[in-house]
Amino acid sequence: MIEQAPLLRVQNVTRLYGGRVGCRDTSFNLWPGEVLGVVGESGSGKTTLLRSLAGFEPPDEGTIHFRRGEKDHDIYALDEANRRAMMRTEWGMVHQNPRDGLRLDVSAGGNIGESLMARGDRHYGKMRARVTDWLQRVEIDSSRIDDSPKSFSGGMQQRLQIARVLVAEPRLVFMDEPTGGLDVSVQARLLDLLRVLVRDLHLAAIIVTHDLAVARLLTDRLIVMKDGHIIEEGLTDQILDDPHHAYTQLLTSAVLSA
């Protein structure tokens, strides 16, 4: 892993909302196939950072480089057309609320198929086969392919959203609280599924969460944020078992069995 070039290089990213700090002077690298967790209390800048990284909000300062082929691209120096093309093909975003990432008036199959059509697939039969395959991979009964996502439970909608993102074969996935709002048993199954998919597809992922159990289960490395700053960074087990910063100690001790 060390000799490989990083997939994502984040340097001094600062995002301000007027006088308020979204995130400040954030730097880190992400390597191919690595799963990085971003933890911190609500309002600590996790989602702001994620939205900047995923191409939705340009940072006020700093740069974000994404490696495609042999070249590093500064994603906000690219023109918008190229950036949007990379957003479609190189990375994907799983929103906390599946309704933000799905078309609710389009069938489940159409939601997954749209990602394929966006990259130029124009063969219905082949698309249909891939969509069916992906429904099975996210453990949705393939007989529900033509049903509206409105008729799906929260957990199914979240799995559908994940399928819609992953079918485009991105190399990096951003997840904003992917298990938020789901009950504990559904969370556990979703986490299991995510773990399998991320390992099987050799995906890199950045997962924003306030749930340390999620971080423990899914991530290789952890970033702890507070008030817009990164206060601690390291291997997940290391940070959770031996937190150095006072805030991280508070965070880990607040959880019963992380």
Binding site: R88, V106, G109, G110, G113, E114, H123, Y124, K126
Partner: protein, 302 residues
Amino acid sequence: MTQPPKHDPDYNYGYLDEATKRMLRRSLLKAIAIPGYQVPFASREMPLARGWGTGGIQITAAIIGPDDTLKAIDQGADDTTNAVSIRRFFARVTGVATTEETTKASLIQTRHRIPEEPLRDGQILVYQVPLPEPLRKLIPSESETRKIHAWAEYGPIYVRLYEDIAQYGEVTSTYSHPILVNDRYIASPTPIPKFDNPKMHMSPALQLFGAGREKRLYAIPPYTKVKSLDFEDYPFTLQRWDEPCALCGSTTSYLDEVIINDANERMFVCSDTHYCETRRGEGHEGPQLTKAQSVHLTGSAP
């Protein structure tokens, strides 16, 4: 052909003022230069409600000259209220000759049909467009659809076709089936039946589209490629009818279903009234012509 009436001197030629006509012509030139691209224009108030054909009327008003011969059709018919009113309007404000004959017209304003008779070099077809944006139903944001057109990110529009096939086994759209113009821009062919889509491809006539309420113009220049969207394994198909036109016996024209009494009897007749009348004039006879005459379905022709 009716005798050209005199231009009503109380109105400027073509109803619109000269500066407005110039603005429209500039926008039209841009539209023709970029086939299928929607050009914004400063749509004016017209003496009828927006959504009733003001876009087409403004285009016609901007390009009509004293030597033109105008034909106006509404759903293929020359004799419906909208068509008659538009023809009378332009006769009054320009004094040009009007006609119902497709071949004699130099300018044809149409609502939702392309005449059955093939158009020729030098003719101009003006469409009235209610919804110029083919992506609007999927993407409500105008700034987003403009970006999609600018960078040809046309994936989402295929979702509509996908959904049709998934739910019904075929593409069920019968009108307003989106087209790809000159391998570049996706455009809405207005609510013409998709039966007419192939007529747009490589047409010798200039095709102009005006959406008055939405304030957009677009154009398909003569001899331009027009492709109806489809999937590789579900190619674009046309609807077919099991019977010929009840009046003229045509098996190749677009037919309207007409209910003729309250006993559930119906017949299928050509939507292009001039085409149907011409064929009857040439001696063609459909299976239910006599019956149609008894319910006054045959219009003024023999």
